[in-house]
C-alpha cells in the first residue's frame, strides 16, 4: 500500500501544469493537464499494491521522489533522523573572517569593525586546527566573510594554500564561497580565488548607481557602483566556471528603482547562467542606523521578493542557486544551528552566528595558536538545540525536513517567534520560480 507523504506540496503553474514538491527529498515533478486528474487522485487517496498498468513509470517516479511512501513508514522518524544527521563529525564548515575591517559604510550594516586583520598567531592556529581535523573528514567547506575579506587577500591566500594541502592529502571534498562587496574583485584577483577553490560568490548591488552609492558607499564617502559593475563585466569575459549571486537588498525607498537595476544587470549578464539574482529585503539587523531604516513591512517584502525574482527571470537573469538549494532537505538550516559549523573571527574568537558578534552568548570559544580550541558547550548547545526539538508546531509542519525549525536560531531567541524561511512563506510562488528558472536554463 502506498500513501502520499505528509511533506508534499502541490501547486499549479501559470500555464496549468501541476507541480508536486517533497520537502524530505527535495524532488519536484511537473505534470501536464492530461495527467492532473489521475495524479491528484493518487495524491489524495494513495494506491493499492499495484499501479494502474498505464501508470507504472509515473508511480515509480512518485515513489523515488518520496511523494508516495509505503504506508508503514513513520515520516516523523525520518525527519528526526535527518535532523540528527547534522551531528556528523566527518563534515566541517567554517566561516572565516580574515579581517573584520571594511572599506564600505553601508547604512544597514550591523558590524562594529572593532577588529582588523587576522594576525599570525590566529592564522597558524587555524591552519593547525584544520590540519588536525582533516583526517577525520569526508568534506569541508569554507565561507570567506568579513568585514570585507578582500582587504586581506594575503591572509586568504596563506590559509587557502594550507587548507588545500591538508584536504588534498586526505582526498577530502573541499569547496569554498565568499561574501564580498566586489569593490576589489578585479579579474586577476578573481582568477586567483578560483585557484583556491572559491567558486561561489555573493556580491550586493542595491540599485542603480545613485541609489546604490547612497546605501553602499565607501566608508568616509565615495561611489562604488560603477567599479563593482566594471569588475563583474571584466570577470564575465573569463571562460571559467563559477557562480556569482548578485544580491539586491531592497527597502521602501529603493523599491521603485529595482526594476531599473534589473534592466542594467540584464543588459550585461542576461543569458549567462553564472550570474544569478538573489532578492532580499533590508532588515533591522542590529546596526546603529536601525531606527532610521525605511524597511518594508512583511507583506510588502514577501511580495516584492518574488515579483523582482520573476522580473529578473523575464529579463534573462536566472534565480540564484542559493534559493533553490535552500529548498532541499536541510537546506534552510542556518549554520549557527549546525554543530559542525563555526565562525572564526579575526582575533581567534569563535562564534556561531555572523549577525550577533557583540553578544556574549554568541562567543562560544577561542582558537589558540597550537590549533586547539576551548569551546563553551553550554553556549554551543543554546544554538544547536532549538528548532523542531522544542517546537511542536515546527514538528508538524510540512517544511520540517528543510529548516528543522532552525532557519534562524537568533531570531527565535530574540523574539520568541518562529523563524520561517521566505520560501516557505510563499511556497507556491517559490515553486513556480524554480519551474520557470528550469525552463529558462534549458533554453
Amino acid at each position: 500500500m502506498w500513501t502520499p507523504s505528509r511533506f508534499n506540496v502541490q501547486t499549479r503553474t501559470d500555464t496549468g501544469e501541476l507541480l508536486v514538491y517533497n520537502s524530505y527529498t527535495g524532488a519536484i515533478l511537473a505534470f501536464s493537464s492530461e495527467e492532473i486528474d489521475s495524479i491528484l487522485s493518487i495524491l489524495k487517496e494513495g494506491l493499492g499494491e499495484d499501479a494502474p498498468p498505464n501508470m507504472t513509470t509515473v508511480v515509480t517516479t512518485l515513489v523515488d521522489a518520496g511523494i508516495l511512501i509505503a504506508s508503514n513508514i513513520d515520516e516523523d522518524k525520518r525527519a528526526r533522523f535527518l535532523h540528527q544527521s547534522q551531528h556528523r563529525t566527518d563534515q566541517l564548515h567554517l566561516v572565516v573572517m580574515p579581517t573584520e575591517a571594511c572599506n564600505f559604510g553601508c547604512e544597514y550594516c550591523y558590524q562594529s569593525f572593532s577588529h582588523g586583520t587576522m594576525n599570525d598567531q590566529v592564522i597558524t592556529g587555524l591552519q593547525k586546527f584544520v590540519q588536525n581535523k582533516a583526517r577525520f573528514l569526508q568534506s569541508a567547506s569554507i565561507s570567506w566573510f568579513g568585514g570585507e575579506p578582500l582587504l586581506a587577500m594575503d591572509v586568504i591566500g596563506e590559509l587557502s594554500r594550507s587548507f588545500l594541502a591538508s584536504f588534498n592529502s586526505y582526498g577530502i571534498d573541499y569547496s569554498a564561497d565568499m561574501a564580498t562587496n566586489g569593490f576589489h574583485l578585479t579579474k586577476d584577483k578573481f582568477l586567483q580565488l578560483l585557484q583556491w577553490h572559491i567558486r561561489r560568490f555573493m556580491i550586493t548591488v542595491d540599485g542603480p548607481a545613485t541609489v546604490h552609492d547612497k546605501k553602499r558607499g565607501l566608508r568616509g564617502g565615495g561611489p562604488t557602483f560603477e567599479r563593482i559593475l566594471h569588475n563583474l563585466k571584466d570577470i564575465q569575459s573569463s571562460k571559467e566556471s563559477f557562480e556569482i549571486s548578485i544580491r539586491v537588498n531592497f527597502d521602501q525607498e529603493s523599491l521603485p528603482f529595482v526594476p531599473e537595476l534589473l534592466s542594467i544587470l540584464a543588459n550585461e549578464f542576461a543569458g549567462d547562467a553564472r550570474f544569478q539574482l538573489l532578492i532580499r529585503p533590508v532588515g533591522r539587523w542590529g546596526g546603529k542606523h536601525d531606527d532610521q531604516l525605511p524597511v518594508c513591512d512583511h507583506q510588502t517584502a514577501n511580495k516584492a521578493i518574488w515579483e523582482f525574482t520573476q522580473m529578473g527571470l523575464d529579463k534573462g537573469l536566472p534565480m540564484s542557486s542559493i534559493v533553490e538549494n535552500s529548498m532541499l532537505p536541510g537546506g534552510a538550516v542556518c549554520y549557527a544551528a549546525k554543530p559542525n559549523s563555526l565562525v572564526v573571527g579575526s582575533t581567534g574568537q569563535l562564534y556561531k552566528c555572523t549577525c550577533a558578534l557583540e553578544e556574549e552568548v554568541n562567543k562560544v570559544g577561542t582558537l589558540y595558536d597550537d590549533g586547539s580550541v576551548n569551546v563553551d558547550y553550554d553556549r554551543l548547545a543554546l544554538w544547536t538545540t532549538s528548532g523542531d526539538d522544542t517546537d511542536s508546531v515546527c514538528r508538524s509542519c510540512y517544511y520540517r525536513p528543510v529548516c528543522q525549525g532552525n532557519h534562524c536560531p537568533l531570531f527565535r531567541a530574540r523574539t520568541g517567534e518562529r523563524p520561517c524561511p521566505f520560501e516557505k512563506r510563499k511556497i507556491h510562488r517559490a515553486l513556480n520560480m524554480i519551474w520557470k528558472n528550469s525552463i529558462s536554463l534549458r533554453r
Binding site: 517533497n22 524532488a27 515533478l29 501536464s32 517516479t61 565561507s143 517584502a301 538550516v333 549554520y335
Partner: protein, 32 residues
C-alpha cells in the same frame, strides 16, 4: 508528459541528504 524538475537529493532515508547543502553566511533570512 511528466517532467522531473528536480531529482530527489539522496535516496529516501539517507543521512547524507541534509548535509549536501552548503550554508551561505550573510543574514539571508532577513526576518530580524
Amino acid at each position: 508528459m511528466m517532467q522531473v524538475i528536480r531529482k530527489p537529493i539522496a535516496p529516501a532515508g539517507s543521512t547524507t541528504a541534509g548535509q549536501l547543502v552548503k550554508s551561505v553566511p550573510g543574514n539571508l533570512n532577513g526576518s530580524k
